[in-house]
């Protein structure tokens, strides 16, 4: 397939999705979008992207399925244990000084990161005064997150990660297993609100002390990265914290000067105290 034609078809499809469904992928990084759309074409048995576009526009069931290809990230609980260890050691002591806490998990997908943070906060005796906002653009992923149910075969990996994160308890304290699934403790979920929010088109909704947004910005182009980082800067209180993915940074963005690095290796940044 001609690469230039394919890129043209991508642009047309993305524009069609934006106009019909108001999901904005126009400033997503092209390389990953291309790969995901190629996979989607195979899955939907379409030989061209224009064919897929036809279905997206005319078959109501197609778009939600395509949205999964474009957005769903299979994450893990306590992914990159060093990040959670750094939160525990360098961020939690400061969060402890606030009478109440609000935390934003941006791009939460199916909820693994939000539940991980809830567990960490419970271990640190902070969950009772914390509200976690976990947001994503994929409503189906949010519905799955809301259930707190995961396949039991993923638990071994989650448990290893949790142990390496400097945990004070056993992960098994927080879930019940049955019928090949585990369900996480309802009292964790009482502190998490899952909701629909787009970093591309929506605005700040609350002041928070910590934003955790990992492996989301790599899918955005520079302009959209700047927009998202602007939202985080706007949402964070003075000296609030921002956690990014292992290969992400504020360094090359328009907001580089708004943050200082507090854990270089683990990508934790702090909003500057004064202008």
């Amino acid at each position: 397939m001609n690469s230039a034609d394919f890129e043209m078809e991508i642009e047309l499809l993305i524009d069609a999705i934006y106009r019909k469904y108001h999901y904005d992928f126009r400033e997503y990084a092209m390389a990953s979008l291309k790969r995901r759309l190629r996979t989607a074409m195979l899955r939907f048995d379409c030989s061209t992207l224009s064919q897929l576009q036809d279905r997206v526009l005319h078959e109501p069931a197609t778009f939600p399925m395509l949205l999964d290809f474009l957005t769903v990230q299979v994450s893990e609980m306590f992914r990159d244990p060093g990040y959670f260890r750094a939160l525990r050691e360098q961020v939690i002591p400061l969060l402890r000084t606030y009478p109440s806490l609000k935390i934003w998990v941006a791009g939460c997908s199916t909820g693994e990161e939000a539940f991980s943070l809830a567990i960490l906060l419970r271990e640190e005796n902070l969950l009772e005064r914390t509200q976690i906002y976990a947001t994503d653009i994929n409503v189906r992923a949010l519905e799955m997150a809301e259930t707190g149910i995961y396949d039991v075969d993923r638990i071994a990996g989650f448990t290893d990660n949790h142990r390496l994160s400097g945990s004070k308890t056993s992960l098994s304290d927080y879930y019940t297993a049955a019928y090949g699934k585990v369900v996480f403790d309802r009292t964790l979920k009482e502190h998490i609100v899952f909701s629909d929010h787009s970093l591309a088109t929506d605005s700040v909704f609350s002041e928070v002390q910590l934003v955790s947004c990992r492996n989301v910005l790599i899918y955005f182009n520079r302009e959209l990265q700047d927009r998202a980082l602007g939202l985080f800067e706007g949402a964070l209180c003075r000296k609030g914290f921002l956690g990014l993915g292992a290969k992400e940074s504020v360094r090359f963005s328009a907001h580089a000067d708004d943050f200082i690095e507090v854990a270089r290796e683990n990508k934790i940044f702090q909003k500057r105290g004064s202008i």
């Binding site: 690469s3 394919f6 990084a29 092209m30 390389a31 990953s32 291309k34 790969r35 995901r36 190629r38 990230q73 299979v74 492996n215 790599i218 899918y219 520079r222 993915g245 292992a246 290969k247 992400e248 090359f252």
Partner: protein, 196 residues
């Protein structure tokens, strides 16, 4: 054979390997010379949960700078980029590097297919793709994409590879321009040094 390749212009080389790949790539890198203008991208399957140490090791073997690939970094000539553990490395317009944590391909992240297919899109027929030793089938589809885009393809002769599964899978999927033992791939690089 290098002479055929010299007639055309190659801007980038993509290399994929798995088991036995550290040794194979360590043998290949010393053949690169300072005057080479080509950009080189390497996916080597590594354990996901610790720093791979490949950048330090390969820097020691190679006169060209070897760096871990950073997301959205513009590609420089005469530089060797290594995919970081647990991220796919792709090429994007510019050309720029792109990372993703999409699902593993053939149980691998980074995956050779992701690098090769995206590089084929960007570099088209100005790309050389090389599949070396390895224990799974990652890279076969990627090499086919390089070939389809008009790029040059080399597969390590399977019976000379430490693990034959990966090169054999690549041969099953497409007929590369060259099937060579590692020593001849090294020689290929040496012969080409003035051309790149």
């Amino acid at each position: 054979m290098a002479a055929d390749l010299l007639r055309r212009s190659i801007d980038a080389i993509v290399i994929g390997a798995s088991s036995g790949g550290v040794e194979a790539i360590s043998a290949l890198l010393p053949a690169l010379t300072e005057t080479m203008r080509v950009s080189i991208f390497i996916v080597l399957h590594v354990p996901r949960d610790r720093p791979s140490g490949l950048v330090e090791l390969f820097n020691y073997k190679c006169v060209l700078p070897v760096r871990e690939a950073q997301d959205k970094e513009p590609v420089e000539n005469g530089t060797v980029y290594i995919a970081p553990p647990d991220y796919h490395l792709l090429l994007d317009k510019g050309p720029r590097l792109a990372l993703s944590c999409d699902e593993p391909v053939h149980y691998s992240r980074p995956a050779i297919d992701c690098l090769f297919e995206s590089a084929a899109d960007i570099y088209q027929n100005r790309l050389l793709g090389i599949i070396l030793t390895g224990g799974n089938e990652d890279g076969a589809a990627g090499l086919a994409a390089v070939k389809n885009a008009g790029g040059v393809t080399i597969v390590q002769q399977p019976d000379t590879a430490q693990m034959s599964v990966m090169p054999a899978a690549a041969l099953k999927r497409c007929t590369p321009d060259f099937v060579l033992p590692l020593v001849d791939i090294v020689k290929f690089f040496t012969d080409l040094k003035n051309g790149f």
